[in-house]
């Protein structure tokens, strides 16, 4: 047996647990587990409120964007129609 086998034999040999080890393990298993947070009803309510508020705000944002695009579209159309109407009333070169 060389020195390595000897070392391993010593390191891995069976040892008896210290006194009261089994009792300490059982006590630890019985003790209530401590979590850093617990799910609470108000958390669910707050999350739902946050999602609802986010959805509402996003819808408002999309609505404002759509409104601005519509106003821009009709402003461009209005400018062109204004030009056409102005000339149609005053121009002799209008041809239909």
């Amino acid at each position: 047996m060389d020195w390595l086998e000897q070392e391993l034999k010593v390191a891995l040999e069976r040892k008896a647990p210290s006194a009261g080890f089994a009792e300490r393990v059982r006590a630890a298993a019985r003790a209530p587990q401590r979590r850093w947070w617990k799910p609470r009803p108000w958390m669910a309510a707050a999350a739902m409120l946050l999602v609802a508020f986010g959805s509402f705000e996003y819808r408002e944002y999309r609505g404002r964007q759509a409104k601005q695009r519509v106003l821009l579209a009709l402003r461009i159309t209005a400018v062109k129609l204004h030009y056409i109407q102005q000339h149609a009333r005053g121009s002799s070169e209008v041809h239909q």
Binding site: G63, A66, L71, A73, L81
Partner: protein, 176 residues
Amino acid sequence: MTRRAWLTLCAFVLPLAAQQFQFHLEHLAAKASDAVDLSLNGPTLQFAAKFLDGDDPDEARVKKLITSIDGIYIKHFEFKREGAYSPADVESVRSQLKAPEWSRIVGISSAEDGENAEVYVRAENKKISGVAIIATAPKDLTVVNIVGPVDMDALAELSGHFGLPHLKESKPTRRM
């Protein structure tokens, strides 16, 4: 036909179904100093209508107008120099606005400032189902397609709003 071929076909056909003619002007965006590309379909217009203020005169008019239409499609380009777009670009749009579907109701041509504008209407079963406007100037080009049963009176009334003077109060700036 493979699935990919169907998808490709749909990609081309769906925008056509929304717009009543193709603009073919995408290549001008790179040359333009300012470009506006608006594609507003029916659901977008109805959604936007909910956010228009009925107490504001301009917005109330817009709200009334857009509730009856199915889409607004606009391409507007402004260029820093003249000649950035060709007559062929305009003709590619104009050539699609042919009888019997389309009829030109007015055309304005100003030799003085080089501005031209045309209005076409599309009629189906004796009812207006679309309006097209082509407006050109040496440094800008605008094409508009309003899809649906357009209230022409309401559309014409727009020119008295958005900060534009009402035509009853205004006089033509130039005679040709």
